[in-house]
Amino acid sequence: MKRKLISAIGVAGMMISLAACGGDNGDGGDKAGADGYAGETLTVWVMDGSSPDQWQKDVAAAFEKQTKAKVKFEVQQWNGIQQKLTTALSEENPPDVFEIGNTQTPAYAKTGGLADLADLKTEIGADWTESLNESSIYDGKQYAAPWYFANRVVLYNKKIWAEAGIKDTPKTRDEFYADLKTIGEKTDAEPIYLPGQNWYHFVGLTIGEGAELVKKDGDKYVSNLADPKVAAAMETYKKFQALSKAPKDKDEATPQQGEVFGKGNVGAFIGMGWEAGIAIEANKKIEKEIGYFTIPGATADKPEGVFLGGSNLAVAAGSKKQELAKEFLKIALSDKYEGELAKLNGVIPNKESLQSNLKGNVVAEAAAPAAAGGGTTPLIPEWAAVENAPNPIKTYMTAVLNGKSPAEAAAQVEDEFNKRLAQQQ
């Protein structure tokens, strides 16, 4: 199991690379008989918050122009998506194209619900960043196309930090902690909003510690939460969580942490760049106060480990519009629109040549330094079952935050964790 995406997304490459490769393509010539699709409608499921309206509109227009067919975007909530997707894939009319989380892709590839995209890979995927494409490959076959990737940063309220007299953003974990402490002492703001179950951040911390969440036991995977390295990551989490009034048994979406931050009385939170949008929607005035910085690591030369979350686009094996679906992917993943998505959302695009789109994007510039040391949860089909509610890792986190020792908490959830990893497929 390779879980580190020792990516080719070099920090330097990302920040400095000039638009050497940009600006080409987008409307390349296409097969004949393009208007054979007139009257058809392609259904595309995208996740809440993943693609801006502007992008959807542009892609839909380009798609219609080229194929004469329409595309209908349906926005899905993350909550309960696996059940919804599984049943949908079994139906007569599944969504033709859908976004699927990179960590969930192997499990779905194994079910036979995803169409083989080998020819698409040959046609447009030659220069996809290899490490980002890893989750789309199962058993040597290409079951999805990498779409975008992102990692978490610290979003902070400049006004509150200035009020506390802090001039510079922190470079190490200890500095970060000290700054938050200062905010707690000098202002009446909550220094950081960190709910007990922001487990993607916790996964990032384990990656930073070089810990593995599962280990092999014979031919099975079993829990590795008892590893002292995991415990160390959890201790870090706990230390910062103690500064927050956020509930210990909730994740970052209930309530939306962006919304809490938007009220203007929270010093910082750890989240995705786009979550700033939620804050701004809750409170327009917060917009000019939001700043971003890389999550500081133990030492100044190495940022904190991050979970490199991302999404792939897949085609349902049961879709009756296979060709049209691939036409859509060719447009959506073309340099023009892949670049537009990177630019609008500040996410890492699927090929290095498009990284120039991130230049000048404050979020991407804060995220990039950590991306190189990013990783994912184990890319094994067995993993998908672990993330189903109630996620044992979340349970582990809450248990530790409520006073159990990491070892006790690990022992508490081990059975459930192992059961899920061993679940019959």
Partner: protein, 276 residues
């Protein structure tokens, strides 16, 4: 018999306390829905919405397809309740008024049907509907909702049918009515309060149903209000104003129906008893 001051006072005091306890959650829902956000998330609760806003209601009804959900919910609920009443009326008449072999079996059968834990059979129902190519349609919802309320409706109506004095029916038949005519002209009018109060339960059950519609209908065109309310809660989890506005809108039809029908039902029940 004279009661002490205390003896007269405590029932009233208890009644007031209970009244507050039962009404407060309902009141708080409406009050929150009308309050500006600043008043909702204030350190000290604002007990009465002094400056009323419709902002939250606008947000709640501004969701795409809102009116589709409303009409779907109404169609499904009314059809389910209507069918259930017709089917149950026939059955309950047989059970209350006739003697036949196996009657006991039918009664126990419906009692057991009433216990069906529908929530745990969702996947079986999903697969049946899927394999019949009936997903994203209101038809399976309607018939399943009808079935969910049918046993209760039969068993309850049976009590109402039995409560109609038999002499009336017989008198009508002596006057030359057939049994069917006697039923229509004499029993049905007397059953009206019973039908109304029984349909209330059906209405509430069908109006509330969430787990089934969640798996059966993925397309917005075929979804109902409970899905809207629950997705609203996911999307606006922290926006209590909007969530409470949505809850209020969802609850209002039932509240109105209930206050209206319950009075009739209870008075019908007691009036019948007194008259007899």
């Amino acid at each position: 018999m004279k009661r002490s001051l205390f003896g007269r006072l405590w029932p009233n005091v208890t009644a007031v306390v209970l009244f507050i306890g039962f009404v407060f959650p309902v009141y708080w829902m409406f009050a929150t829905a009308f309050k500006p956000t600043g008043d909702i998330i204030s350190e000290d609760p604002v007990w009465f919405p002094t400056d009323v806003t419709f902002e939250h209601f606008r947000k709640a009804t501004g969701v795409d397809h809102f009116w589709t959900y409303v009409s779907n919910s109404l169609i499904v609920t009314l059809c389910a309740v209507g069918f259930a009443l017709v089917v149950a009326l026939a059955g309950s008449f047989a059970l209350a008024r006739m003697r036949f072999k196996g009657r006991r079996g039918f009664v126990i059968g419906f009692m057991m049907a009433q216990m069906a834990p529908w929530e745990v059979m969702i996947i079986a129902m999903y697969m049946i509907v899927r394999d019949a190519s009936m997903l994203n349609s209101l038809v399976p919802l309607t018939v399943f909702y009808m079935m969910m309320i049918l046993p209760f409706t039969i068993l309850t109506l049976r009590g109402f049918v039995a409560a109609v004095p038999r002499d009336l029916e017989e008198a009508a038949m002596v006057d030359g009515c057939t049994r069917a005519q006697a039923f229509r002209k004499v029993i049905l009018p007397l059953l009206a309060p019973g039908l109304m109060s029984t349909s209330l339960f059906g209405f509430i059950t069908a109006w509330n149903e969430l787990p089934l519609v969640l798996v059966l209908n993925k397309e917005a065109e075929a979804q109902t209000l409970p899905l809207w309310l629950s997705s609203f809660q996911t999307a606006f989890g922290n926006d209590w104003g909007a969530t409470m506005a949505a809850s209020s809108l969802f609850a209002v039809p039932i509240l109105i129906l209930f206050v209206f029908l319950q009075r009739k039902a209870v008075s019908g029940l007691t009036a019948g008893a007194v008259k007899g």
